[in-house]
Symmetry: C2
Subunit: 306 residues, 2 copies
């Protein structure tokens, strides 16, 4: 099965109480593919400027990341600069320079059109629709979005929702999109727009999978040391999609297991700056954390009291 | 096995976006015992003024709540008035009148001293220590506290922590007590003060059980309609303690199951105003929700990928 992601490829400058980085590899497609490639090969569609450290992407290609869908355009790469609060609970964007990303028009190489598992990262919903029109027979389409598009491109976003299988957003995005502060009602509202499933990421509180008749909850892994929350949600998405693409199944049980693989990837992502932690782990590490997740919510059966 | 709670018995006036109540039965010992009595008899120690609607307590006695440890003192009952925000995420205390509660000196009837499961609700830690000195051979002692005592009575609180089995608090209290914003490090800090276990309640995000080598997480039940969050934490405590008292076991598996019973009680508590919802349910309802909790985090086993 093949997995395709379209999203941002950025250079991040991040300040946390524990240190800082400058122009480090970042962006949703990078976090997604570095995490996902632990489970299966990932094809990436994106754009970088002529100042991007291509050798770093080349290095990551050895993990099974196919960058042949990444265009190098004339101009500056997408740069994001942000600062986290002392407790990492909030962050302030200090600077966003879109550069070549502002004129991004995703074009899929022919070899990518047959991809079956498609993740439409957080870009203009019109471009997300454009990507969909380029894939031939997707088995599962999952999309992300953000407040900017909810406010500015709602009609296109609703058109997209009618054509995807899963919407994966964080809780504030689900609330803003639905106009409902209750996260479960917000999830139901989104289901009525088309997706069969909604995944709502809640940061340090885990993630919810809302389906028409069932809800699943995976907690965040208990971490005593979190260094950099950047990219956790994209690493979650990468683990989620790559688990499904590897196993080829999109049944209820598989989707729940994919949530746990996603949460495991997200938990690794935050333990060091940027993609460093995800680069340093193996599939065995991921499996070990997946087992630890099971213990985290496991309740031994007992006879009913009544 | 017998279960004892000491705590507040109040008259609450609550404003939510969905309605309001005036001088309704409330207080930690009331929520605790109305929830707990679904599973086993509860003995209550507390104080009310001579204006308290005693006939309402008499009605609740039929559930198996023994109020013989409640003193009726000369003066006004404890009254609390609060208002919730539109999304129930925050609340403002409009008025607190301690009345006879300000001079509360818990005195256990002789028949209460043999109680084996003891819940020390949120009162002055010196009084909590005084209750402990009146019980003969407790099997499990769990205590609650709040920011007021953390700030004003820290030495007595630390003395108490060295003598209890479990501290059960909400996340902001755990952070304030430990001086650490990371909830898992905060939990470890508390374990070092004496308790073998810490339960950290996180409202709509569920509750954590932190033990020296394991952590357990129970989510909050997915509710599309929440009417009044008041008393959810005390109902959780009542379900948790009453499950353990009913089964008589305090092993790891039992404690995890007790967390689920607690979460089930908390979820019912918020579905109507005050104690109304807890009064209207049966043990069968609780068992049904406990089963639903299992499905909420259940992941079918699959072969490891590596």
């Amino acid at each position: 099965m093949s997995l395709l992601v379209v999203g941002s490829i950025a250079l991040d400058s991040i300040f946390t109480p524990f240190g800082e980085t400058a122009d480090a590899l970042g962006g949703s497609a990078v976090y997604f593919s570095v995490a996902g490639s632990l489970l299966c090969p990932v094809k990436v569609v994106g754009v970088v400027g002529n100042d991007y450290p291509i050798h770093e992407l080349d290095r990551l290609a050895a993990r099974g990341i196919d960058w042949s869908g990444v265009e190098q355009a004339d101009g500056e790469s997408f740069r994001w600069k942000g600062k986290y609060s002392y407790d990492l609970q909030s962050r302030e964007t200090l600077e966003t320079r879109l550069g070549v990303f502002a004129r991004f028009q995703p074009k899929l190489p022919d070899a990518f059109r047959a991809a079956e598992f498609i993740f439409l990262g957080n870009i203009d919903p019109e471009l997300q629709l454009g990507v969909l029109s380029q894939v031939s027979r997707p088995k599962l389409v999952v999309c992300d979005t953000m407040n900017y598009w909810i406010q500015g491109k709602k009609p296109a976003l609703l058109e997209l929702l009618a054509r995807v299988d899963v919407l994966m957003v964080n809780d504030s995005e689900a609330r803003e999109l639905s106009g409902d502060w209750n996260i479960h009602r917000a999830g139901r509202w989104i289901l009525r727009q088309g997706p069969r499933r909604v995944v709502i990421k809640q940061g340090e509180h885990g993630a919810l999978l809302i389906e028409p008749t069932r809800t699943f909850y995976v907690p965040a892994f208990p971490l005593e040391n979190v260094f950099d929350p950047t990219g956790a949600g994209d690493a979650f998405a990468g683990g989620f999609m790559a688990y499904l693409a590897r196993t080829g199944s999109i049944g209820e049980d598989s989707i729940r297991r994919a949530m746990v693989y996603g949460a495991a990837m997200g938990s690794y992502a935050v333990e060091q700056f940027g993609i460093r932690s995800l680069e340093g782990i193996t599939l065995q590490d991921v499996e070990e954390r997946v087992r630890a997740f099971r213990d985290l919510t496991h309740v031994a059966l007992a006879e009913a009291l009544s």
